[in-house]
Amino acid sequence: MENEKVIVGIGASAGGLEALQELVGKLPDDNGMAYIVTQHLSPTYKSMMVDLLAKGTGKKVLEAKDGVVVSGNTIYITPPNKNIRLDGEIIRLFTPSGEAFTPKPSVDIFFESLSYSKKNYAVGIILSGTGSDGTRGMQCIKAEGGITMAQEPSSAKYNGMPLSAINAQSVDMVLNPTQMAEELPEIVSHIREGKTSSVKTDSTYMEKILMRINQAKNIDFSEYKPTTISRRVHRRMAALKMNDASEYVDYLYKNDAEPDNLFRDIIIGVTEFFRDEDAFLEFSKNLEDIVLKKSTGGSLRIWDVGCATGEETYTIGILVLEMLKRNNLYGKITVQIFATDINPDATRAAREGIYPVSALSSLSKKTLQDYFVPENEFYRVSKELRDIVIFSQHDIIKDPPFLRIDALVCRNLLIYFSQKLQDRIFPLFHYTLNNGGLLFLGKSEAIGHFENLFTTLSKDKKVYRREFSIRKEIPNVNFSRKNSYDLTKGTQKEKNEKTLEEYVIEGIGAYFMPMSIVVNEGMDIIYVREKNPYIGFPAGGTTMNVYKCLEDELVAELRTLLHECQKNMTPKAGVFQHLKKSDGSDVSVRMTVIPLLYGKNISRIYIINFQEEKQDLFIEVVSEEGKRSGGVDQVRKLESELNRTKVHLQAVIEELETTNEELQALNEELQSSNEELQSSNEELETTNEELQSTNEELQTAYAELKAVSDEREIQRDLAEKRLDESIEVKTLLQEVLDSSLSAVMAFDSLRDDSGEIVDFEWTLVNKEAEKLLQKNAKELIGNSLLKEMPGSKTAGLFARYVGVVDSGEAYSGQKYYKNDGLTLWLNITVVKHKDGCVVTLTDITEQKGIEHERMLFEKSRRGTILELLENLSHQWRQPLNNISLIAQNIEDGYEDDSLDGEELKKKTETIVRTTVELSNLITMFSSIYHDDVAVDKKVSLQECVNKAISVTSKLFESLSITYSISLEKDFKVGVQKSDLVEVLISLFMNIADAVAKNKVTLPVVAIEGYEDGDSLYVSVKDNCGGIDKEMLPKVFDPYTTTKFKSFSKGLGLFIAKNIVEIKLRGEIFAKNNKDGAEFIIRLPNE
């Protein structure tokens, strides 16, 4: 067809626009080609493709519309969020179903429809893009005879899609977009000219081509339909741009890769899930009948011939599994699906069982969920489904068949076979199937003239049932052996003869032999005419053997008759025998045997006629005879009886002989069975050889494994021994570790992807470590450091460990650890060990604590002195301010002349008084620390209280605090004055804080002194609401402050306690009274 339109499908994704523009810009002038572009697009984004592409070409660029007939020299763009299919030359758009992750529009779906619609007038092009969409579509196009091209991966912005197609062997040409545009017109002319076949006309080329393939691939295609082969050859020639068959043959012989390419082209096959769903359902329905007859524990064997990439096989698998589940037989019947294909690539792919979403579009959501597992952008066949299928490479033409098959599926394979080959294949199918087994063919295939082997169950769905044949025919298929015997011819003639036979029987039988049967040489009944009361099936196993089926009384005579016939090949009639029919009436019956020869093989058949006469008629004849002859009658009767006895004797003798011969026949039958077994045996041998080689491989692998395992064994023994030793050592080690007074822990590093240490894992802790961390070894070992002791990070320990592991330098230092519920001073040693570290912790809290408190004490003491100085400076500021004010007022007065002598005198007097006040203040402050050089000198309590009051008086004044002092007497205290004054100042300042905080309206401080035995007590009470309950026990702790805005810096009471306890050898307590706090100092009374 010179003017058949060539349609070019172009699939592209990411980076495709650029390549498309390049390709479109260079497209050839009008040559009747049409282009359909499926570019993956965002479903929501409004595409500018049409405008963008129209700019660079003179061709019409249109958005594809549903129902439009494709016209030449036009570029159609598939709109976003639509899928496109080609129905003949009509564009069909439809909204894609749910799967969000499949790219739209789907290139696979479009290419598939393109391939079916246009066959070898289709061209598929894959341009830049990621993923694998289009690969399957390209396979379809190639399988249907079209030409496929992929963008040269290095020229593509994204090479995923082209590479995927190339790797799947589905690409004829790998080109950049410009080259593609240049190639297109040439290819088109090849496609068109290719129809006038030059290969087909010259059979020598064909022979050479087939020879080359046979030589290179060891596969004989000579019995395939020549048209199939020549179509593929032409496709290859078009792809190689060759016109001359001789040129191609030449190329085929010189190029090592080409036989492989051609081979792949010939055997390429793409199947679909549920292709012709109706046919599959019909098949499944019939299969169900077979399955239901099976008993529990039985097995269902199905053979899928030409399984291609497995879609068909898995479809059958799904149907079978569903059927078993439906009938509650799941798991009760073993299912084996043998799936074979000549193409090793196909079976490999099928075994993998991975399919793109586009291949599964015909499956229901439920099926997809039940039998497939999503894997990236693909789906993998579930284990359940995969497990029932066995894939293998197998050539139906030469490899031995599988046996005892319940159903054989062979779809769209026979169409490639020549009639001659088909005639060999059907008997093979018959042979391989169980009786009643199903044969399921493709849409355009049929059983032809093998109606005697198969019964049609559904003519249009192509489902057939194997018929029981009289003799199980061993198909003369030469498994791997050359055999010149042609079975098909014989079969054909046999069939024709049989028809003639029937004519004869019909013609004669209608008049003379109303009740006849036909038996073959094997004495099996092969034909029964009319209902025959003498033939019946015995109980037990079914048989067609005429002796078994015949009334017992007639068997002996039939043997005699048949025997005679066999010997002489002449018809033989028996005598009338009296029988009682089942309804009780008497009959006489006579058998006549007529031998017939037919066919080249000289097969014999025997017609056995039953002549039936009414008993009374027969008696009548005899009695009339008797009446006529009188006494002679008696003699005659006896003679006749004697004769009959003689004959019977003869019959008995012959019967013996017959029995002999029967044994002979039985022997022959056995022999034929033996042959059958032989054939099976040979087949088994072939399989065995394969198994042998597999076995050898396994043996080698086993030997290797064994060697490794032996070595392991030795190593394990050694390791065990070592383990025992090491356990001992370990126990010892643990004991040593546990005896340590330091906590010892070992860690392994935990690293992230970049190798950074993110955490440590405990690998060892000793007893002391458990004690120190207050955790059980079981909680720690194998756990993460940061989980169990998150404080390590805050305290900087984690960073230390990391530093040690990274640098290899050990660390040693002290650390105050107040985290994770622990408050400890630790001496820490960290040493790197393998990829981790060993940490030794020693609790030095006790030593540190003493040191720490002393430090704090000194620090706070300095603090209090500073505080006092600060206080002093404040107390100085007000008087200084007054002096400053007076001085400035004097200046003012002088300037405005209002300053008289009296006024001046008054002002200077105030200044002098104020300076004296300031001077006293200084003296007093310095006296706190200065006047107790003599330690032994006793100081007056009164004096100390006064001093403390005077220091804080300004503070008290500013807060309107009044005070009262009541001492039983002027106690003398054997202490340094400054110490006691300092304690009192601390207490006063604490009260000032409380007053300021609590806004006490009339704050009063009461200071009392009294003796009790050998103790002297000084009590300081306030009315400021007391100390918070939870604060009370901690009131003397460092940095615990009872105030909000502290006049002292939080160390006041801590220092007071320390002075009392250490220097004054006394005690200090705090308690709450009714309206305030009370501090009591107990001193030794001397």
Partner: protein, 123 residues
């Protein structure tokens, strides 16, 4: 450069101070320059004076019994009164930064106080 303090003659000033001597000498200094001088012993008294006499500017000691300078400021702000304020204190480190309020340390220079008042009154 000394500024023109004569403008202060139209200004009513309130001085808040708990110490009597200081109050007295400050009063003398202020009376020479301001139109009207009011005195108060603490924040509480000051609030009353502000209520009845509406001074243009308040000079206040910071630490005082009953109601201190800061509390006075907060009370005034609560009432929506934004009379400019200047703190005088012997404890400058206790005040820190108070928005919109000038702080002067005792003892201070007369001119510093007057300049500060001119500033807050934008004279």
């Amino acid at each position: 450069m000394s500024r023109d303090y004569t403008k202060l003659k139209t200004i009513k000033v309130l001085y808040v101070e708990d110490e009597e001597l200081g109050r007295e000498h400050m009063k003398e200094m202020l009376q020479r320059r301001f139109g009207k001088v009011f005195l108060a012993k603490n924040g509480k008294e000051a609030l009353e004076v502000v209520e009845s006499n509406k001074p243009n500017v308040i000079i206040s000691d910071y630490r005082m019994p009953i109601m201190d300078g800061k509390e006075l400021l907060l009370e005034l702000q609560k009432d929506g009164n934004h009379t400019p304020m200047i703190f005088l204190t012997a404890y400058p480190d206790e005040i820190g930064y108070v928005s919109g309020v000038k702080v002067l340390e005792k003892p201070f220079k007369r001119s510093d106080l007057l300049d500060a008042i001119m500033d807050v009154l934008r004279l």
